[in-house]
């Protein structure tokens, strides 16, 4: 997100900058997820554009989507939103009747836009739904291990804390795995992701223990279950999530603890990764360097100050993701119910066909 400010500045000169809008949206609303921000950006784009035919609209949509995906280092999450919106548009346009291909385009347009907004509102509500579904999983006296900064998980845990009597009665405990990668990066003073949730939970009287990632295996014995968030849920029921989730999944499987994923159903992506290295993004995680390479790098850094050109954007380590295969996941808690990993493909097929 380093380039956000510069993009926003350019936004005024250009007619409409989808990337800047997207980033702006994400920044302005902390509760917004990537797919929803993408959809909202697309809706804004359609309101501002003067397209008058269906094919023009679809074409514009496609181009902007492609542009957006190219400009964001990790487009997995947002592609769920853009794909969904595109699909929604096409199905609406294909539907017979007034809003179908034969109908008045202006009516179609207004319908689309208003429905697009409705969609966004519903998506925001989905977190409450998830919390309602997931509440039953958190029982009295249980200990939950979680990681990352998932807002869905935070909502679920806070809801459970509220339900079970707030500060008066302590019914469950949380082991919060805090990422160490953000501290290694450029902002060592920034607090790790999830601290906000930790504070909120503590305020509600829930005992929280924070552990580093290296202590997961050690601490899992004290936990009853693992609940994690996800950036995207892929077709085979696996998840793409914050780096470190996969190892927690593996450890949970090895120790025999249930591993639940909390995700909104708009995060379902049409993507089928076969493994860690089959994701459509480039990550700098495993990089082999000798002393020679390091020297070379240093030289380059000093000579070239800033080349923010069109070079492929690589994901910094703190933002990198991994893929947790479906066989490690016990269930997915979504706003359309609690699903087994294999049911995800069914949901996706329902959306897509």
């Amino acid at each position: 997100m380093a380039s956000t400010t510069s993009d926003a500045a350019v936004a005024d000169t250009k007619p409409f900058d989808i990337v800047a809008t997207y980033n702006e949206l994400l920044r302005s609303d902390a509760d917004l997820t990537m797919p929803i921000a993408a959809i909202e950006a697309l809706v804004l784009l359609l309101t501002q554009s003067a397209s008058s035919t269906i094919s023009e609209t679809l074409d514009l949509l496609e181009k902007s989507t492609a542009h957006l995906k190219r400009s964001i280092p990790n487009p997995i999450g947002l592609s769920a939103g853009t794909d969904l919106f595109q699909r929604y548009l096409i199905t609406t346009l294909q539907r017979p009747g007034q809003l179908g291909p034969a109908g008045d385009f202006k009516a179609i347009r207004t319908h689309l836009l208003s429905n697009g907004r409705l969609f966004i509102r519903r998506a925001k509500e989905s977190r409450d739904k998830i919390a309602a579904f997931g509440r039953g999983f958190i029982r009295d006296g249980s200990t939950i291990l979680t990681n990352g900064g998932s807002r869905a998980v935070a909502a679920l845990l806070q809801k459970a804390a509220d339900e079970e009597g707030g500060s008066s009665a302590v019914r469950f405990r949380v082991i919060y795995v805090l990422s160490s990668t953000s501290q290694e990066s450029k902002h060592p003073d920034e607090e790790p992701e999830g601290m906000e949730t930790v504070r909120a939970l503590r305020a509600k009287g829930v005992p929280v223990s924070t552990i580093p990632e290296s202590a997961v295996a050690y601490s899992l014995g004290k936990a009853d279950m693992v609940i994690v968030g996800a950036e995207g849920v892929v077709e085979n029921g696996g998840i793409v999530s914050r780096m470190g989730t996969y190892q927690i999944g593996l450890l949970a499987k090895a120790i025999g603890k249930p591993f639940y994923v909390v995700a909104e159903s708009h995060k379902f992506v049409r993507l089928y990764p076969l493994g860690q290295y089959d994701l459509p993004i480039e990550q700098q995680v495993v990089e082999f360097k000798s002393e020679e390479d390091l020297a070379e790098e240093r030289k380059q850094q000093s000579s070239v100050a800033d080349t923010n050109g069109d070079t492929p954007i690589k994901l910094p380590l703190c933002d990198s993701v991994d893929f947790t295969p479906p066989h490690l996941i016990s269930a997915l808690i979504t706003d359309s119910g609690v699903l087994t990993p294999s049911a995800v493909s069914e949901e996706l097929i329902k959306i897509w066909f």
């Binding site: 077709e235 085979n236 029921g237 076969l274 089959d278 294999s342 493909s345 069914e346």
Partner: protein
């Protein structure tokens, strides 16, 4: 002209049924009746439900099972006696009912009373059998029509009197008991004895299916549809019936013939079901010519949509999964895998291919040849060296015969071995197993093991020592052993009907297995890979986990 012929033919058939009915119903099957033959080749109207079930006893016989002289006889009979349409209809109905009853009785008789030797001369001499039997087989079997249609479960045995009672016992031992239910009727080996109404395109297709010239689920499906198109082009609706009603039954008899050549594949069954549904939906008032045109168009678009274009879509998305430096393991010869690999190669991906093959069909040989010709790096090995081949593999691509509703992959026997080896985390790395499969191959059946549903091929195919068995010549010692290339190329012409008198001395120690006590040979065609060994199924509808097969199948069939 055409029309007249068709009418004549159908009259002949009706008459034939009538005649047959009269002859067989009151008493035991008369050995003289030449008429019984056609019925024997059409055991039961094709029932879609059983189309795929292996009903044939796939023991290959050398001798033409049926004489050819009987068919005209009944035609002549029909020509003599003109019948009014109403009469014909009535008779046809009665015949059908009678035939059903008779078949039922026979079926029961076949299982319970099979020990009763039937006084017939149509001994189906098995190549490596006693000289005595051979004599009967080569001599009289050529001419003598088998009076009673082959009994279910009795196989090609036990028709030459008392000698064969004993022989029959022996033969029953040759059925591997776990797979006993799969030995249906004998598999047809010649076109002789086919009913007149079987179209020549279907006859030719039957031969090609029989000797694996057309092999592979998609290829069989396409060939069947094309043959049906030929049939429909030359079809005329007989008087007094409508196209929608008559063509379906007409097709059914063709299908029955095909299924005696080789049990129908799932894809064939699905295609036939779709076609029949379409025929049934034709408005009776449509003129025949336009109905035929629309049918042909339907078949064309079916092939295009479900197979040709589907294959392109699958190959396209599967090729995206191939990365530079991959080592792709594949088993036997799947056309869609071949298409995928070639496409990926043409897109500039550089990878190695390791083909694992197995006896007796050696389907991987032509794949290896074709890929190598196109410039790919190919390693060819047999299934015995699977652990070695899988060691440096990075991905496994498999073709499918069918995908079952519980996500199982029903494919050429040996596939499960490859998939399981890939999943075994011996080397610490899991190798993704990717199945490429058109949705036409999806079925609502459930397969828990490879035993309940399978196809048994001729055990003689296992005999040859170093050359693959000649798939037409039943005798492994046939004078011209075909080269593997020849067979794999698919351009192999069916060898001429064997005049071979079976040799007793064979290169294979197992050649005499029929007469060796305590020895059973099993040659099954398919196995089931459980869903947990499959990571991804690539279809034209997208990539799915195997658990999504029933959903997609439901969706495809409902549309």
């Amino acid at each position: 002209m055409n029309r007249k012929l068709g009418l004549r033919r159908s009259v002949g058939r009706l008459w034939h049924h009538f005649f047959f009915h009269k002859m067989t119903e009151p008493s035991d099957p008369a050995p003289t009746a030449p008429v019984s033959t056609p019925a024997s080749s059409a055991p039961g109207q094709a029932q879609p439900a059983t189309e795929n079930s292996p009903q044939t006893l796939p023991i290959r016989d050398s001798k033409p099972t049926q004489p050819t002289g009987d068919a005209p006889a009944s035609t002549d009979g029909a020509a003599d006696k003109p019948l009014s349409p109403a009469e014909l209809k009535k008779k046809a109905k009665a015949d059908k009912a009678a035939r059903r009853i008779r078949e039922k009785l026979e079926r029961e008789g076949g299982t319970t009373g099979s020990t009763t030797p039937t006084p017939s001369v149509g001994a189906q001499a098995r190549p490596p059998s006693t000289p005595k039997k051979d004599a009967t087989g080569t001599g009289s079997a050529q001419k003598g029509p088998r009076a009673p249609p082959p009994r279910r479960g009795s196989g090609p045995v036990a028709q030459t009197g008392s000698v064969l009672v004993e022989q029959k016992k022996k033969k029953d031992d040759k059925k591997v008991s776990v797979f006993g239910h799969l030995y249906g009727q004998q598999r047809r080996v010649t076109v002789a004895g086919a009913t007149k109404e079987v179209h020549h395109a279907i006859l030719a297709l039957g031969m090609q299916l029989m000797d694996y010239t057309i092999c592979g689920s998609s290829a069989r499906c396409v060939a069947t549809l094309i043959a049906f198109k030929r049939l429909i082009e030359s079809y005329t609706t007989p008087m007094g019936t409508s196209l929608a009603r008559h063509l379906t039954t007409h097709l059914s008899s063709q299908i029955t013939y095909l299924s005696t050549c080789r049990p129908l594949s799932i894809s064939q069954g699905n295609a036939i079901r779709a076609l029949k549904l379409f025929i049934a939906g034709i408005d009776p008032s449509t003129p025949e010519a336009s109905a035929k045109i629309s049918l042909c168009e339907y078949i064309d678009s079916f092939i295009r949509e479900k197979i040709t274009v589907a294959d392109q879509v699958i190959a396209d998305s599967a090729a995206q999964k191939i990365q530079d430096g991959d080592v792709i393991v594949t088993f036997a010869g799947s056309s869609i895998v071949k298409q995928t690999l070639l496409l990926a190669y043409n897109r500039g991906k550089r990878f190695r291919v390791s083909i694992i093959d197995s006896r007796p069909l050696f389907e991987g040989k032509s794949l290896a040849r074709d890929l190598a010709k196109s410039g790919l790096d190919v390693q060819y090995s047999l299934v015995h060296s699977i652990t070695h081949a899988i060691k440096d593999a990075t991905k496994v691509f498999l073709g499918a015969h069918a995908m079952t509703s519980n996500g199982g992959l029903y494919s050429r026997v040996g596939t499960a071995l490859v998939a399981m080896s890939a999943k075994e985390r011996a080397s610490g790395v899991e190798i993704p197993v990717i199945v490429c499969c058109e949705t036409i191959k999806f079925t609502d059946r459930v397969a828990l093991d490879s035993i309940v549903v399978n196809e048994i091929a001729d055990a003689n195919e296992l005999l040859p020592m170093d050359t693959p068995v000649s798939l037409v010549v039943p005798n492994p010692d046939a004078h011209v052993p075909p080269t593997p290339e020849n067979k794999k190329g698919g351009n192999r012409t069916p060898a001429p009907e064997p005049l071979v008198t079976p040799h007793k001395t064979s290169s294979s120690p197992l050649a005499d297995w029929h007469n060796t006590p305590n020895l059973q040979l099993l040659n099954i065609m398919y196995d089931v890979t459980p869903a947990e060994y499959v990571d991804m199924v690539i279809t034209e509808m997208g990539s799915l986990p195997p658990s999504a097969v029933p959903i997609v199948h439901r969706m495809v069939t409902n549309l």
